[in-house]
């Protein structure tokens, strides 16, 4: 599928964020594993304050894309630019320090520490270089966050003792507590009940405008409820990249999802 994305397209951008500076610019990134190409020449730009959903059938390369953006994997070619700074060759932790936050599809929390200790690690991160040897404390804003998610009473409980849904919420909290300017959410609603899912949706909506969010989601209600623009991946390539309405009505996208499209 030829990639039709160029910078010129944004003069015709119908989203409200089209005039904001570009937060994340993905330029022609490719990732190969041996003979298999997981991500092939993917390019798109996400403007500041925008909520971009990345969708596509299983195996389309969405999580690999996230891994490349965050630094878990290195690209074979291409460039990643964060607020104008080339981060393609920077290690994971530096990208995080520059404002790139993430939540994972499978919970990647600290199971043998308490809930409060989990959040404290996120709290301490920014100040650790000049406050290395003091006593750790949890910030009041983080306590607020725990309260928001209903976990404040369980602050001292061991994470492994929490229910799956609560652990998932902690996963999201860890992503939020860092106060990153750009947040990558990998299937945040995975494994959650409908009530919990609407909580997450409410939260994501509240982030819009202040933060730039890139979201991987399978639940189309969630996607069409919150996204400004949608990028569709298929077999590691960008199939379509457009506003919410256009994607909804795009026949090629429907074919890809229902498997009638062929490479």
């Amino acid at each position: 599928m030829p990639n039709t994305e160029t910078n010129n397209d944004y003069h015709r951008d119908s989203s409200e964020h089209g005039n904001n500076p570009i937060a994340v610019s993905i330029q022609g990134i490719t990732k190969k594993f041996g003979n298999m190409t997981a991500v092939n020449d993917v390019s798109f730009n996400v403007h500041s304050g925008e909520l971009r959903a990345v969708i596509g059938p299983n195996g389309a390369g969405k999580t690999t894309l996230f891994n490349l953006i965050c630094g878990n994997l290195t690209c074979n070619s291409g460039k990643i630019v964060l607020f104008g700074k080339d981060i393609t060759n920077l290690p994971l932790y530096r990208r995080a320090r520059l404002g790139l936050g993430r939540t994972y599809q499978r919970n990647s929390i600290f199971f043998n520490l308490s809930v409060a200790e989990n959040v404290m690690l996120a709290d301490m991160s920014k100040e650790i270089s000049h406050n290395t040897f003091g006593r750790p404390k949890i910030k009041s804003e983080s306590m607020e966050l725990l309260k928001q998610f209903g976990l404040d009473e369980k602050a001292d409980k061991m994470t492994q003792e929490l229910a799956y849904g609560e652990q998932r919420k902690l996963e999201i909290i860890l992503g939020l507590a860092l106060k990153s300017k750009v947040l990558l959410l990998d299937e945040p609603a995975a494994g959650l009940s409908p009530e919990e899912t609407s909580e997450i949706v409410r939260l994501i909506k509240a982030l819009k405008g202040e933060k730039t969010v890139i979201l991987i989601e399978h639940d189309m209600d969630v996607v069409f409820g919150v996204a400004d623009r949608i990028t569709v991946l298929h077999h590691g390539e960008v199939l379509a990249d457009d506003s919410r309405e256009s994607i909804k009505n795009n026949p090629t996208v429907r074919d890809a999802y229902f498997g009638t499209a062929r490479r």
């Binding site: 965050c70 878990n72 290690p91 994971l92 932790y93 995080a96 320090r97 936050g101 993430r102 990647s108 929390i109 600290f110 199971f111 043998n112 520490l113 200790e117 404290m120 690690l121 996120a122 301490m124 991160s125 920014k126 650790i128 406050n131 290395t132 040897f133 003091g134 006593r135 750790p136 860890l174 860092l178």
Partner: protein, 303 residues
């Protein structure tokens, strides 16, 4: 503050009285327990708190010991404090180099690389016999301080208290929390913005500093240093102390030291097969009591 603060004070009070209560034979046994306690606690910084199993930890002990042996036997240094400083510096310096190499790897490879590096150091100690005394080591080392046996006991005690305080502080500090975070989930720590390599490096230097202290003391206590101070035997005993006592607990490694030193001392009167017993204990502990005594007791008490 640290939990069980009073318990630690009682322990220290008891230790202060030991030379008064016990005979010189048992007093020197307690000296040994304290020295190995320091070494085991330093190993636990890496194993229990940071999640790094380093067989190279013995390098700090061995290099500091050899520094003492070489400098005193050749008559180069006769001032106690200069000796201490050089020994600590040498131990840390070697750890600094070893850590750069070892941290190029992670996981199982890290364990193997540290083991290989320690063994290479031991081989060098054996080969370079003009300086190190080769297989025989250096004997007849004397303490450049006129303090006698009791004086040496209290010297060791002071070092022990310093190390205990360092560990207590570490557990409570942000730095310690970061190490524990690295142990639990290093990739997530990086995603949270932590330069985990740097923290691991500092942890190794910190632990190496304490191990050097222990090696310094043991060399003067034993009046001898040899390739065994860089060998598997000592590495294994320290590791077992941490395992038996409980990883990631403050006092666990010390308890492990008590058990192992007393056991070795008691058994040595009846059998020459200490290594067999050590090995069996090791296997038994890993299979049936991997958590260690202190952790098991803590769990029982909190029920």
């Amino acid at each position: 503050m640290v939990r069980n603060f009073k318990a630690y004070l009682c322990l220290l009070a008891f230790l202060i009285c030991v030379p008064v209560i016990f005979s010189p034979y048992y007093t020197s046994l307690v000296v040994k327990i304290m020295i190995f306690g320091i070494f085991a606690m330093s190993l636990d910084i890496l194993l229990g708190y940071t999640g790094l199993l380093s067989f190279g930890h013995i390098i700090g002990w061995g290099i500091a010991s050899y520094a003492v042996g070489i400098l005193t036997s050749q008559g180069i240094v006769s001032n106690f404090f200069v000796l201490l400083l050089i020994a600590l510096f040498a131990g840390i310096a070697f750890n600094a180099v070893v850590a750069v190499l070892a941290l190029r790897t992670s996981g199982l490879y890290f364990v193997l690389v540290t083991l290989a590096l320690a063994e290479i150091a031991r081989c060098v100690a054996v080969k370079w016999h003009s300086i190190t005394g080769g297989v025989d080591g250096i004997s007849g080392i004397t303490l450049p301080l006129e303090i006698g046996e009791t004086g040496f006991y209290y010297l060791t005690f002071i070092f022990f208290v310093i190390c205990l305080c360092l560990i207590c502080w570490l557990v409570d500090s942000r730095f310690g929390r970061v190490l524990m975070g690295i142990r639990e989930n290093e990739p997530r720590m990086q995603a949270l913005g932590y330069d985990t390599w740097l923290f691991k490096y500092i942890a190794i230097l910190f632990a190496g500093f304490m191990a050097s202290m222990a090696g310094f003391l043991f060399c003067l206590f034993n009046r001898y240093v040899g390739p065994g101070d860089l060998g598997f035997g000592l590495s294994g005993e320290a590791l077992l102390m941490v395992l038996i006592g409980g990883m990631g607990t403050i006092i666990g490694p010390f308890i492990g030291s008590v058990i192992l030193v007393v056991l070795k001392n008691a058994l040595s009167m009846y059998t020459t097969h200490w290594m067999l017993i050590l090995g069996i204990l090791f296997v038994f502990c890993v299979k049936f009591f991997p958590e260690g005594l202190v952790t098991i007791l803590k769990k029982k008490i909190s029920r």
